[in-house]
Symmetry: C2
Subunit: 124 residues, 2 copies
DNA sequence: AACAATAGTGCCTAATTGAAACTAAGTCTA
DNA sequence: TAGACTTAGTTTCAATTAGGCACTATTGTT
């Protein structure tokens, strides 16, 4: 007999919010969004802004964001073919919540660093 | 000669915000925070709320959050030793920004699903 | 003709994640 | 008192994922 059979399972593996969260809150997605926040960019333009991205990871992340309707991908048939990535209205609506997290990291970075030093000191 | 030598590198590999963001915005961290938002929990209590976490991943994520000063870890010397995890004030300050993201997923889930269907339809 | 830039793709290895078993200390049951 | 169960992890190994590097194809420049 379980002690607390009423314990709620908050996050099941198929929770849609959990799945969507995993798609929008990863490392590269958020950085791409803040680059596109300054205006439309081309593939290699984004790449130059994000030190350490491989073409493969960038392609994959851009595809994922495009599939979720957060950015748009427009091919321009110019000299060397240009592919322009831009924020969609849906993507723009995500910028507010994202900026809240970003601002939090700016405001609390020193407090986090203090906590880290304190923690590392405890682990003799 | 580079065409645009003034192109800004927004995110370098050692950008502190980028590093901190990676520590707080991963899959399990955010789910753990929303569990602890409802009050202090013990190790296996959290585990039961998060379908699919392994002990290892949970331990690692809890340690990381503790090190960053976002949660506290208290050992109670009761019958089988009890370890209680709770939000710190710093952690609570992160809940607002997190809820903004969570709310966004709730509000825009249907629009994202529509975008996915449209995208998948285009890829005949 | 050779070289650079465009936007990718493909292969292979390195790093991370997760599943399952194990540890250790104490409680409860038969 | 042996056996099973709880607690909170750690360890080991396998699988998934991520990243580095080389390659394609097209156009423009020198």
């Amino acid at each position: 007999m379980p002690k607390d059979s009423a314990e709620t399972k908050y996050f099941t593996v198929d929770c849609p919010n959990r799945l969507l969260f995993a798609e929008i809150a990863d490392k590269w997605s958020m950085m791409i969004l803040s680059v596109l926040d300054t205006g439309p960019h081309r593939f290699n333009g984004i790449k130059r802004c994000l030190e350490g991205v491989s073409q493969k990871s960038l392609t994959q992340t851009l595809r994922k964001l495009e599939r979720n309707g957060i950015i748009s991908r427009t091919v321009r048939s110019t000299s060397p073919v240009a592919v322009e990535y831009a924020m969609t209205p849906l993507g723009m609506s995500l910028l507010g919540p994202y900026r809240a997290i970003y601002t939090w990291t700016c405001v609390n970075l020193s407090e986090v660093n203090a906590a880290r030093l304190e923690y590392d000191g405890r682990q003799t």
